[in-house]
Symmetry: C2
DNA sequence: ATTATATTCAACCAAATGGTTAACAATCAG
DNA sequence: CTGATTGTTAACCATTTGGTTGAATATAAT
Protein backbone atom coordinates (compact mmCIF):
# COMPACT_ATOMS: atom_id res chain seq x y z
CA UNK A 1 0.00 0.00 0.00
CA UNK A 2 2.57 2.50 1.11
CA UNK A 3 4.81 1.02 -1.55
CA UNK A 4 2.19 1.52 -4.20
CA UNK A 5 1.82 5.14 -3.21
CA UNK A 6 5.56 5.61 -3.32
CA UNK A 7 5.65 3.89 -6.67
CA UNK A 8 3.00 6.26 -7.91
CA UNK A 9 4.91 9.28 -6.63
CA UNK A 10 8.00 7.96 -8.37
CA UNK A 11 6.12 7.71 -11.65
CA UNK A 12 4.47 11.10 -11.38
CA UNK A 13 7.61 12.99 -10.43
CA UNK A 14 9.60 11.16 -13.06
CA UNK A 15 7.01 12.01 -15.67
CA UNK A 16 7.20 15.67 -14.65
CA UNK A 17 11.00 15.74 -14.75
CA UNK A 18 11.07 16.07 -18.53
CA UNK A 19 10.40 19.40 -20.27
CA UNK A 20 8.81 17.76 -23.31
CA UNK A 21 6.34 15.92 -21.11
CA UNK A 22 5.58 19.01 -19.05
CA UNK A 23 5.00 20.87 -22.30
CA UNK A 24 2.60 18.20 -23.43
CA UNK A 25 0.65 18.55 -20.21
CA UNK A 26 0.52 22.29 -20.76
CA UNK A 27 -0.92 21.72 -24.19
CA UNK A 28 -3.55 19.53 -22.64
CA UNK A 29 -4.71 22.08 -20.10
CA UNK A 30 -8.16 22.95 -21.28
CA UNK A 31 -8.56 20.96 -24.43
CA UNK A 32 -8.06 17.47 -25.78
CA UNK A 33 -5.25 16.73 -28.18
CA UNK A 34 -4.20 13.91 -30.47
CA UNK A 35 -0.78 12.29 -30.36
CA UNK A 36 0.26 14.26 -33.45
CA UNK A 37 -0.93 17.48 -31.84
CA UNK A 38 1.16 16.78 -28.78
CA UNK A 39 4.22 15.87 -30.82
CA UNK A 40 3.80 18.91 -33.08
CA UNK A 41 5.81 21.55 -31.21
CA UNK A 42 8.81 19.29 -30.67
CA UNK A 43 11.52 18.23 -33.03
CA UNK A 44 11.15 14.55 -32.26
CA UNK A 45 9.73 11.56 -34.06
CA UNK A 46 6.19 10.37 -33.51
CA UNK A 47 7.67 7.27 -31.93
CA UNK A 48 9.47 9.36 -29.34
CA UNK A 49 6.30 11.32 -28.63
CA UNK A 50 4.42 8.06 -28.30
CA UNK A 51 6.85 6.99 -25.60
CA UNK A 52 6.49 10.25 -23.70
CA UNK A 53 2.74 9.93 -23.81
CA UNK A 54 2.97 6.40 -22.51
CA UNK A 55 5.04 7.64 -19.56
CA UNK A 56 2.40 10.26 -18.80
CA UNK A 57 -0.30 7.67 -19.14
CA UNK A 58 1.34 5.14 -16.82
CA UNK A 59 1.76 7.92 -14.27
CA UNK A 60 -1.98 8.46 -14.57
CA UNK A 61 -1.52 12.04 -15.69
CA UNK A 62 -3.21 11.50 -19.03
CA UNK A 63 -6.14 9.50 -20.34
CA UNK A 64 -6.43 8.20 -23.86
CA UNK A 65 -9.54 7.67 -25.91
CA UNK A 66 -8.97 5.82 -29.16
CA UNK A 67 -11.30 7.24 -31.78
CA UNK A 68 -10.74 5.74 -35.17
CA UNK A 69 -7.09 6.04 -35.99
CA UNK A 70 -6.62 8.97 -33.65
CA UNK A 71 -5.77 8.70 -30.00
CA UNK A 72 -7.46 11.55 -28.19
CA UNK A 73 -5.61 12.50 -25.02
CA UNK A 74 -6.89 14.49 -22.12
CA UNK A 75 -5.36 15.64 -18.88
CA UNK A 76 -6.17 13.75 -15.71
CA UNK A 77 -4.98 16.21 -13.07
CA UNK A 78 -6.54 14.13 -10.32
CA UNK A 79 -3.41 12.01 -10.34
CA UNK A 80 -1.38 15.08 -9.51
CA UNK A 81 -2.96 15.40 -6.11
CA UNK A 82 -0.59 12.97 -4.39
CA UNK A 83 2.43 14.84 -5.69
CA UNK A 84 0.76 18.10 -4.84
CA UNK A 85 0.06 16.97 -1.28
CA UNK A 86 3.62 15.84 -0.90
CA UNK A 87 5.02 19.14 -2.07
CA UNK A 88 2.54 21.11 -0.01
CA UNK A 89 3.93 19.58 3.16
CA UNK A 90 7.37 20.97 2.43
CA UNK A 91 6.00 24.20 1.15
CA UNK A 92 4.18 24.62 4.45
CA UNK A 93 7.37 23.74 6.28
CA UNK A 94 9.14 26.43 4.32
CA UNK A 95 6.54 29.00 5.26
CA UNK A 96 6.80 28.01 8.90
CA UNK A 97 10.54 28.43 8.68
CA UNK A 98 10.11 31.87 7.19
CA UNK A 99 7.67 32.75 9.94
CA UNK A 100 10.21 31.56 12.50
CA UNK A 101 12.89 33.60 10.83
CA UNK A 102 10.68 36.63 10.80
CA UNK A 103 9.88 36.17 14.46
CA UNK A 104 13.57 35.84 15.21
CA UNK A 105 14.38 38.98 13.29
CA UNK A 106 11.64 40.82 15.12
CA UNK A 107 13.15 39.66 18.39
CA UNK A 108 16.54 40.89 17.32
CA UNK A 109 14.99 44.12 16.28
CA UNK A 110 13.31 44.55 19.65
CA UNK A 111 16.61 43.95 21.44
CA UNK A 112 18.33 46.42 19.19
CA UNK A 113 15.69 48.99 19.91
CA UNK A 114 15.92 48.37 23.64
CA UNK A 115 19.56 49.27 23.55
CA UNK B 1 15.87 32.45 -18.57
CA UNK B 2 12.94 30.27 -19.37
CA UNK B 3 15.44 27.55 -20.11
CA UNK B 4 17.07 27.99 -16.74
CA UNK B 5 13.74 27.72 -15.04
CA UNK B 6 12.93 24.61 -17.00
CA UNK B 7 16.31 23.20 -16.15
CA UNK B 8 15.61 23.86 -12.50
CA UNK B 9 12.20 22.19 -12.70
CA UNK B 10 13.87 19.22 -14.36
CA UNK B 11 16.35 18.93 -11.52
CA UNK B 12 13.78 19.35 -8.78
CA UNK B 13 11.29 16.87 -10.20
CA UNK B 14 14.03 14.41 -10.97
CA UNK B 15 15.35 14.73 -7.43
CA UNK B 16 11.87 14.04 -6.10
CA UNK B 17 11.35 11.01 -8.35
CA UNK B 18 13.41 8.75 -6.10
CA UNK B 19 12.01 7.30 -2.86
CA UNK B 20 15.38 7.34 -1.11
CA UNK B 21 15.79 11.02 -1.82
CA UNK B 22 12.23 11.83 -0.79
CA UNK B 23 12.88 9.91 2.41
CA UNK B 24 15.99 11.96 3.04
CA UNK B 25 14.00 15.15 2.65
CA UNK B 26 11.46 13.80 5.10
CA UNK B 27 14.23 13.17 7.60
CA UNK B 28 15.34 16.74 7.13
CA UNK B 29 11.95 18.28 7.83
CA UNK B 30 12.49 20.04 11.11
CA UNK B 31 16.06 19.18 12.00
CA UNK B 32 19.51 19.12 10.50
CA UNK B 33 21.16 15.82 9.68
CA UNK B 34 24.61 14.59 8.75
CA UNK B 35 25.31 12.50 5.69
CA UNK B 36 25.56 9.40 7.87
CA UNK B 37 22.25 10.23 9.51
CA UNK B 38 20.59 10.51 6.12
CA UNK B 39 22.14 7.29 4.86
CA UNK B 40 21.23 5.43 8.08
CA UNK B 41 17.74 4.12 7.24
CA UNK B 42 18.75 2.78 3.85
CA UNK B 43 20.66 -0.31 2.90
CA UNK B 44 23.08 1.54 0.67
CA UNK B 45 26.71 2.54 0.89
CA UNK B 46 27.77 5.95 2.12
CA UNK B 47 29.02 6.64 -1.38
CA UNK B 48 25.56 6.04 -2.79
CA UNK B 49 24.01 8.28 -0.16
CA UNK B 50 26.59 10.92 -0.98
CA UNK B 51 25.44 10.85 -4.59
CA UNK B 52 21.78 11.18 -3.64
CA UNK B 53 22.61 14.14 -1.44
CA UNK B 54 24.50 15.77 -4.26
CA UNK B 55 21.44 15.41 -6.49
CA UNK B 56 19.28 17.07 -3.85
CA UNK B 57 21.91 19.77 -3.43
CA UNK B 58 22.18 20.55 -7.14
CA UNK B 59 18.40 20.80 -7.27
CA UNK B 60 18.70 23.37 -4.49
CA UNK B 61 16.56 21.30 -2.16
CA UNK B 62 19.26 20.91 0.44
CA UNK B 63 22.04 23.06 1.86
CA UNK B 64 25.25 21.71 3.27
CA UNK B 65 27.37 23.16 6.03
CA UNK B 66 30.72 21.46 6.46
CA UNK B 67 31.57 21.40 10.14
CA UNK B 68 34.75 19.54 10.84
CA UNK B 69 34.51 16.14 9.28
CA UNK B 70 30.73 16.19 9.28
CA UNK B 71 28.57 17.65 6.55
CA UNK B 72 25.49 19.10 8.17
CA UNK B 73 22.54 19.14 5.80
CA UNK B 74 19.40 21.16 6.08
CA UNK B 75 16.29 21.40 3.96
CA UNK B 76 15.91 24.37 1.67
CA UNK B 77 12.21 24.19 0.84
CA UNK B 78 12.35 27.56 -0.87
CA UNK B 79 13.56 25.77 -3.98
CA UNK B 80 10.38 23.73 -4.00
CA UNK B 81 8.26 26.76 -4.75
CA UNK B 82 8.75 26.62 -8.51
CA UNK B 83 7.69 22.99 -8.62
CA UNK B 84 4.86 23.78 -6.25
CA UNK B 85 3.65 26.64 -8.43
CA UNK B 86 3.79 24.42 -11.46
CA UNK B 87 1.73 21.70 -9.82
CA UNK B 88 -0.70 24.18 -8.35
CA UNK B 89 -1.66 25.33 -11.81
CA UNK B 90 -2.81 21.83 -12.76
CA UNK B 91 -4.32 21.22 -9.39
CA UNK B 92 -6.42 24.32 -9.87
CA UNK B 93 -7.36 23.10 -13.33
CA UNK B 94 -8.46 19.84 -11.79
CA UNK B 95 -10.62 21.60 -9.23
CA UNK B 96 -12.22 23.66 -11.96
CA UNK B 97 -12.97 20.49 -13.84
CA UNK B 98 -14.52 18.95 -10.76
CA UNK B 99 -16.60 22.07 -10.27
CA UNK B 100 -17.77 21.82 -13.85
CA UNK B 101 -18.60 18.17 -13.35
CA UNK B 102 -20.50 18.94 -10.20
CA UNK B 103 -22.45 21.67 -11.97
CA UNK B 104 -23.23 19.26 -14.78
CA UNK B 105 -24.43 16.61 -12.37
CA UNK B 106 -26.60 19.16 -10.62
CA UNK B 107 -28.12 20.08 -13.97
CA UNK B 108 -28.80 16.42 -14.68
CA UNK B 109 -30.28 16.07 -11.26
CA UNK B 110 -32.59 19.02 -11.82
CA UNK B 111 -33.80 17.53 -15.09
CA UNK B 112 -34.38 14.20 -13.44
CA UNK B 113 -36.39 15.80 -10.70
CA UNK B 114 -38.43 17.79 -13.17
CA UNK B 115 -39.57 14.56 -14.74
C1' DA C 1 52.17 9.82 15.96
C1' DT C 2 48.58 6.54 15.27
C1' DT C 3 44.17 5.20 14.69
C1' DA C 4 39.32 5.82 14.04
C1' DT C 5 35.50 8.47 11.92
C1' DA C 6 33.07 11.06 8.26
C1' DT C 7 32.85 11.84 3.66
C1' DT C 8 34.14 12.22 -1.14
C1' DC C 9 36.11 10.56 -5.43
C1' DA C 10 37.21 7.36 -9.21
C1' DA C 11 36.41 3.36 -11.71
C1' DC C 12 33.31 0.20 -12.82
C1' DC C 13 28.63 -2.16 -13.81
C1' DA C 14 23.73 -3.21 -15.00
C1' DA C 15 19.54 -1.13 -15.93
C1' DA C 16 16.73 2.69 -17.44
C1' DT C 17 16.07 6.82 -20.45
C1' DG C 18 15.31 9.39 -24.56
C1' DG C 19 16.19 9.31 -29.03
C1' DT C 20 16.44 7.16 -33.83
C1' DT C 21 14.79 4.32 -38.00
C1' DA C 22 12.12 0.74 -40.14
C1' DA C 23 8.33 -2.26 -40.12
C1' DC C 24 3.58 -3.16 -38.82
C1' DA C 25 -1.51 -2.27 -37.88
C1' DA C 26 -5.58 0.08 -38.29
C1' DT C 27 -8.55 3.44 -40.23
C1' DC C 28 -10.06 6.78 -43.55
C1' DA C 29 -10.55 8.74 -48.41
C1' DG C 30 -10.67 8.35 -53.37
C1' DC D 1 -8.93 -1.95 -53.90
C1' DT D 2 -5.30 1.47 -53.31
C1' DG D 3 -3.11 4.98 -50.95
C1' DA D 4 -2.52 8.13 -47.38
C1' DT D 5 -2.85 9.11 -42.40
C1' DT D 6 -2.34 8.04 -37.42
C1' DG D 7 -0.05 5.47 -34.10
C1' DT D 8 2.41 1.66 -32.03
C1' DT D 9 6.11 -1.67 -31.80
C1' DA D 10 10.77 -3.53 -32.25
C1' DA D 11 15.58 -3.14 -32.56
C1' DC D 12 19.19 -0.38 -31.79
C1' DC D 13 22.30 3.39 -29.70
C1' DA D 14 24.45 6.82 -26.53
C1' DT D 15 23.85 8.77 -22.15
C1' DT D 16 22.28 8.86 -17.48
C1' DT D 17 21.20 6.61 -13.23
C1' DG D 18 21.80 4.23 -9.03
C1' DG D 19 24.50 1.09 -7.15
C1' DT D 20 29.10 -1.10 -5.86
C1' DT D 21 34.13 -1.32 -4.10
C1' DG D 22 38.50 0.62 -3.03
C1' DA D 23 41.47 4.45 -2.42
C1' DA D 24 41.99 9.25 -0.91
C1' DT D 25 41.11 13.31 2.23
C1' DA D 26 40.29 15.57 6.31
C1' DT D 27 39.29 15.85 10.98
C1' DA D 28 38.97 13.99 15.75
C1' DA D 29 40.47 11.13 19.47
C1' DT D 30 43.91 8.41 22.03
Amino acid sequence: MVNNQNQHLDEVFHALADPTRRGMLSQLAGRERTVSDLAGPYDISLAAASKHIKVLERAGLLHRNVKGRQHICRLNPKSLSKAYEWLRFYERFWNEKLDALEALLNEEDKKTKKK
